[in-house]
Symmetry: C2
Subunit: 159 residues, 2 copies
């Protein structure tokens, strides 16, 4: 049992090498034209468009703008390691519902939940941690302030 965003891959929809090549093109530039992609992967423009449609509809891929929080004035980022004692999914979903939480997942290890938060300043962060600590089921939190981002990639699964 895992979380499926919108819809799973249909029975007869294998992701072959050509589709992976298309995804790679779009990971380099999400606005690259279907014609240019077609030239690169050896397919007609219409065929590329159909495949991209399927890939996005099935949730395998999405083409979106990704921003740098620092340059937008959100200079305090942190990962929170959270220990909880009951109803892990319910607790994690309550945390996920907080706007400043950009990333939230249930883990196996000495933390039960990891949550990444994006804040404008230290006050916001402090209030946010307090809010999360007060959620029923949360036993403790540990804050890992981001000092230096060294790598951030979105091309998972096509290397």
């Amino acid at each position: 049992m895992t979380s499926q965003p919108a819809s799973g891959p249909g029975p007869g929809s294998a992701i072959d090498a050509v589709s992976k090549a298309i995804i790679e093109q779009l990971q380099e530039d999400g606005r690259r034209s279907y014609a240019a992609i077609g030239k690169a992967v050896g397919l007609s423009e219409a065929a590329v468009r159909q495949r991209v449609q399927k890939l996005t509809d099935s949730g395998v891929m999405q083409i979106v703008a990704v921003t740098d929080p620092m340059q937008l004035g959100f200079s305090r980022q942190a990962m929170l390691g959270i220990k909880a004692d009951a109803g892990l999914l319910a607790v994690s979903d309550e945390i996920a519902a907080i706007p400043q939480v950009s990333y939230c997942l249930v883990t196996a290890g000495s933390f039960d939940i990891l949550a990444e938060v994006v804040c404008e300043n230290d006050d916001d962060l402090m209030l946010l941690v307090g809010r999360i600590r007060s959620i029923p089921g949360v036993r403790s939190t540990e804050t890992f302030m981001y000092l230096s981002l060294r790598k951030q990639e979105y091309n998972w699964g096509t290397r």
Copy 2:
């Protein structure tokens, strides 16, 4: 400093409400046409295009395909909490250089470095952890296996 190679906001380039509105449009759909965005934010197509160009050139935003690793056969994901004793930036960059590492940052807290890794299976993950442990300067690693992803957002800073 007067000129930056490829990143950093220029001196007179404030990110105003209109640019944020443009970013929001592209966070919903990275392929939305400049004309449609212009209609939504009250600007001409050419003006939207110029602003998008600046935003991407300065690194504030990038338009890319984001994939779901699970659906691409990469079913083992984990966050590694790493303790290191010297040359934190050098160590973190060495870790960041590993292909399976999708996210790597230096933190303040009981871990010095956090690294997210994406693997096809348990064997890959095991080898990877061994490799990271053998990097000079790495004292210890702790693995947090991903069990259930509850939230993953890319619209940082425009909420």
